[in-house]
């Protein structure tokens, strides 16, 4: 089989011993992708680009960073001032993390709109959610590393979430800290885990793609591929399209890195960590704000933590909450509307999360939190039952060749 591979003598010599070219061909050139994928399908490969960027910049930052509470803050300043292109590495890493989340959130909402979580893609969807959870843990621990005021108090507030666990809460938190408060041991272990987790994410991405290769890509019509007339080879068609998207992504990243590198950061994090003073207004990074708003919406410690966890965990059961068998929102007149309501709800939650927890914001936050769960637990199953979907097209090819949007 392997010696049937065409190519130069060297390529064949290698391929006969390790069929890497056959493998790549199989994955890229022979992989049939639906011919109607739109730009919302760019975000998966973009997420991979962002992950690789984080790993590469992170490894080079790690060569100068010191994971010890006595030196951490100064070592980051050293990176910014003395290390050649240290500022570039750090700004790429911090802004890259934020854009990584943006890309992954778009990727998730794409899945929500086109029903990509439905059979047979449930496990693919699950692995995706596990990836977001691991990303959140990674970004949180990374944010602690510069050991500024925001780092310290983010670490305090987030680790204290575990103290809400009945009975064992305090023991668990002391175990996480390695002490009686966030301190040196906490920073050093977060550094170790911050280095490790991205590689775990890499492994998860591999599983994600394995599942994808098994069940194949969904598409904007949400109907199954019927035959070769519905597909094009992934390479070179989608590789070139993905490269184009990557160019735009890198432009946006460069815009932040070169023109507004601290736009998404907080000035308080340039003050060294002080365990005796909490900044008067602490807010998480923007990509955590919707969840933060949900945490604060519930006037009970344990309840808030449960609601926040549930807001993500509900996505695991979404494939069964959605009772409609039609995937794409294009053919679901009511679902299409509630999809946009959900998106607006999450964006507004993010805004509320950035405001102080007082007065009117508390009530708005509660209403938006209630709607979030109402969407998944009530609206989604009910709409699936009562909605009358529009007729599905015959095939992908029929729609594409008509040039219409169906």
């Amino acid at each position: 089989m392997s010696n049937s591979y065409r190519g130069s003598a060297v390529v064949r010599w290698v391929n006969d011993r390790l069929p890497i070219f056959t493998f790549l061909d199989h994955q890229m050139r022979d992989y049939p992708a639906p011919r109607n994928l739109n730009y919302w399908w760019n975000y998966g490969s973009l997420a991979l680009v962002a992950l690789v960027l984080q790993i590469v910049t992170g490894i080079f930052l790690a060569m100068h960073y010191i994971g010890d509470a006595r030196f951490a803050f100064d070592s980051v300043e050293h990176i910014m001032r003395n290390v050649n292109y240290g500022w570039l590495l750090r700004y790429l890493h911090s802004n890259g993390a934020a854009l990584f989340f943006l890309v992954v959130y778009v990727h998730i909402f794409r899945g929500l709109y086109y029903g990509s979580y439905k059979s047979p893609r449930e496990i693919l969807w699950w692995i995706g959610i596990v990836i977001v959870l691991a990303m959140m843990a990674t970004a949180f621990m990374g944010y602690v590393l510069p050991w500024g005021q925001m780092s310290f108090w983010a670490a305090t507030v987030i680790t204290n979430l575990f103290s809400a666990i009945p009975l064992l809460g305090q023991e668990i938190v002391a175990w996480l800290w390695g002490g009686f408060a966030v301190g040196g041991p906490t920073l050093t272990r977060f550094y170790a885990l911050h280095y490790l987790l991205p590689f775990v994410i890499f492994g998860l991405v591999f599983l994600h793609l394995w599942a994808l290769r098994t069940v194949k890509s969904n598409n904007p019509l949400g109907i199954d591929v019927r035959g070769p007339q519905d597909t094009v080879p992934f390479h070179p068609y989608y590789t070139s399209k993905d490269y184009f998207g990557m160019g735009l992504f890198l432009l946006v990243l460069a815009g932040f890195v070169f023109y507004a590198p601290n736009y998404m950061g907080h000035p308080d994090n340039y003050i060294p960590a002080n365990p005796m003073v909490t900044p008067t207004h602490i807010v998480p990074e923007w990509y955590f704000l919707p969840f933060y708003a949900i945490l604060r919406a519930i006037p009970d410690k344990l309840g808030g933590v449960i609601a926040m966890a549930a807001s993500l965990l509900v996505l695991f059961v979404l494939p069964w909450l959605d009772t409609s068998r039609v995937r794409s929102a294009r053919f679901r007149p009511i679902y299409k509307v509630i999809f946009w309501f959900l998106l607006a709800d999450v964006v507004l939650l993010g805004y509320v999360g950035s405001q102080p927890a007082e007065g009117i914001w508390i009530h708005i936050g509660r209403a938006l939190t209630a709607y979030y769960f109402f969407h998944f637990l009530i609206l989604t199953p009910v709409v699936g039952k009562i909605e009358r979907p529009r007729p599905l097209p015959q095939s992908i090819a029929a729609v594409v060749l008509k040039g219409g949007k169906a």
Binding site: W175, A181, P185, T278, I282, D300, A357
Partner: protein, 176 residues
């Protein structure tokens, strides 16, 4: 041969099952034995646990003043309460409190209120002489504590904790 084979499979089944169970059991015990030391290695270390007590001289603290000292790397508030503050703390219907506790049970001497300065919600440090009850206000998610350090409004579930302390003389204490 064929017969022998099927017979072997037949009787071998239970023996092989035994091997499955045995290898699985060895693995579980092995992982457990190695796992606990690994997990426990993350707990506070011996030197952290041995952290000493903290001594506080109360003489310089005027009535109506509070200082923050460090004990086991935690902030501890030492507040010299005024008569009004003591009266306000006593004048509360205890049943209505979220974490019912009489002021008398939280102090050794009414004029000295000594508290661990960590919000029982998510661990921020409340600001003194602020909030609806002029005790402490936590800026993180808006918890208000009264002049006895009891939670009155906001998300915190419990009162500010009282650390173990003893008066060594009339004007000095040892925390811990």
């Amino acid at each position: 041969m064929a017969e022998h084979g099927t017979a072997a499979v037949h009787t071998g089944e239970t023996r092989r099952d035994f091997l499955y169970v045995a290898t699985a059991a060895v693995s579980v015990v092995g992982v457990g034995a190695v796992g606990w030391p690994i997990v426990d290695s993350m707990n506070p270390t011996a030197d952290v646990l041995a952290l000493a007590t903290t001594e506080v001289d109360l003489v310089p603290i005027e009535v109506g003043q509070a200082i923050t000292v460090v004990w086991q790397s935690k902030p501890v508030f030492v507040r010299h309460r005024t008569d009004q503050e003591i009266a306000a703390a006593a004048d509360v219907a205890i049943e209505d409190l979220r974490d019912p506790q009489a002021d008398g049970d939280r102090v050794q001497k009414p004029e000295w209120l000594i508290l661990i300065g960590i919000c029982t919600h998510l661990g921020c440090i409340p600001i003194g002489y602020k909030g609806d009850f002029n005790g402490w206000f936590c800026p993180c998610h808006g918890s208000h504590y009264d002049t006895s350090g009891r939670i009155r409004v906001g998300p915190a579930p419990e009162n500010l904790k009282v650390p173990p302390y003893t008066f060594t003389t009339d004007t000095s204490i040892v925390i811990g």
